[in-house]
Symmetry: C2
Subunit: 241 residues, 2 copies
DNA sequence: CGCCGCATTGACGTTCGTCAAGTCTAGTGG
DNA sequence: CCACTAGACTTGACGAACGTCAATGCGGCG
């Protein structure tokens, strides 16, 4: 009953189309399985890694929900992303051999530990794995570009709408509802991610409720009018009344 | 007088410690030279690539200055970065095989075209090149994290100060002055990057001038008090008077 | 010389932050 | 079973920071 005996191979994992490259043959598949050295459980509120920690591995989230966060010298901090099952965290550590952000579990979680040396070694031999690693990093760059657009040019309503649309879309890709979701983070954490204060997040939720776009009961959100939400995201700045 | 005859090999390029991995032996060095397929000149105002273009290559900037920019559906756009000699652009294109941003030359420029297939091929064989490619991508992720912090939690003065400190530091690493710089971009482009309007950028410059921190004459900036500038970047939110 | 794009400056408005009071919910312990 | 508490959330009143609009200045170039 130790962790190796109950080990689920990547090749059997139901998240494999999220984590792994497509089109591997059987022998490649077996070798990629070996990239996952161990699993690690992270309790709610605990850090998977912290700013300053030595970088050794990337982590594939098997279950649970994380936030990543950076802090400025004077103590302000910024949530840089929320990560869910099938997503990879730790890429920030490659450049300097040390992590530059904190990864905090927002609910009890389990991750696959993938030592980076092993990833590099294997991706020298398996072309599709190499390409996959490059894509994962590029995807993160493109994602952050999108967040920069959000933070640099959107107003509160647009930010929150974009946030909800993005979350629900990612959850849907994992088999959850398109219209209902449970937020794993507080208003303050949402605000930190969106560059807003928690009160503004709360007010904006209330505004959406008034407008009949969503129902909100604490962290439970039901999207009543997804089109309206998407419309807000792409809103021209000029709307009469 | 054609482009191959005047070709400068990476191994002789004075930017090699910025673009290339360290610690290559001679034969590796020669092979890495071959990653650069051609050079390409880009006139001021022209695009190196555009959103939607097929992704083929990464580009190392030899001379000149670029901005990268993404646009939302409704026409707003966001400058996602300014790039100078020795820096690599095009990483956004890897994930979807198409570029997702525009790269525009802010002055006449020349880039080294590095077909990505060739990079991948060679980095399967030269471990230090592989590691180098990973670091470049990770560095970009970390850079964008920093921009998110800036956009999400800093006020106008802090943003502009951070911008100036960052620019001058990168220029200094290239042998330019620590205290003097010529901006290659308009106030509007600075504003777009920092999530501010051009008037706010202008006003904030004027404020810095009043405070004796910088001298500004159009795009010419001289930093009189670098410590004050760095202090603003890390300022506690509470300052009396 | 006159034009044009870029930059500066001022007056005013909007959005969001701040501060404070109060509500809801889940969890604890009597 | 219910009172009690702590943390998260909501709501209102007010103010600060930044955006908007408009007038003006400046410098380079044909």
């Amino acid at each position: 009953m130790n962790s190796t005996s109950i080990k689920v191979a990547c090749s059997n994992c139901n998240l494999r189309e999220l984590c792994m490259p497509l089109g591997l043959n059987e022998s490649e598949m077996e070798r990629v399985d070996e990239v996952v050295a161990t699993r690690r459980k992270v309790g709610r509120g605990d850090n998977l890694f912290r700013n300053g920690d030595k970088f050794n591995a990337l982590y594939a989230i098997r279950t649970g929900f994380f936030k990543t966060r950076i802090s400025s010298e004077d103590g302000r901090d910024q949530v840089t992303g929320f990560q869910m099952a099938g997503e990879i965290i730790g890429l920030d550590g490659i450049v300097s051999d040390h992590h530059t952000c904190d990864a905090v579990a927002l609910e009890d979680a389990e991750v696959c530990v993938m030592p980076f040396d092993r990833i590099e070694e294997l991706s020298r031999e398996i072309t599709s794995l190499q390409r996959h690693v490059h894509k994962i990093m590029s995807r993160e760059i493109v994602r952050e570009n999108g967040v920069m657009l959000l933070l640099g040019s959107m107003r509160a309503e647009e930010r929150l709408a974009a946030f909800l649309v993005n979350l629900v879309q990612r959850l849907h890709a994992r088999g959850f509802s398109q219209s209902e979701l449970v937020l794993r983070m507080t208003r303050e954490e949402i605000g930190s991610f969106l560059g807003l204060k928690l009160e503004t997040v709360s007010r904006t939720f209330s505004k959406f409720v008034e407008d009949g776009i969503v129902e909100v009961k604490q962290r439970h959100v039901r999207i009543l009018n997804p089109d309206a939400l998407k419309l807000i995201v792409n809103a021209q700045t000029c709307q009469p009344s």
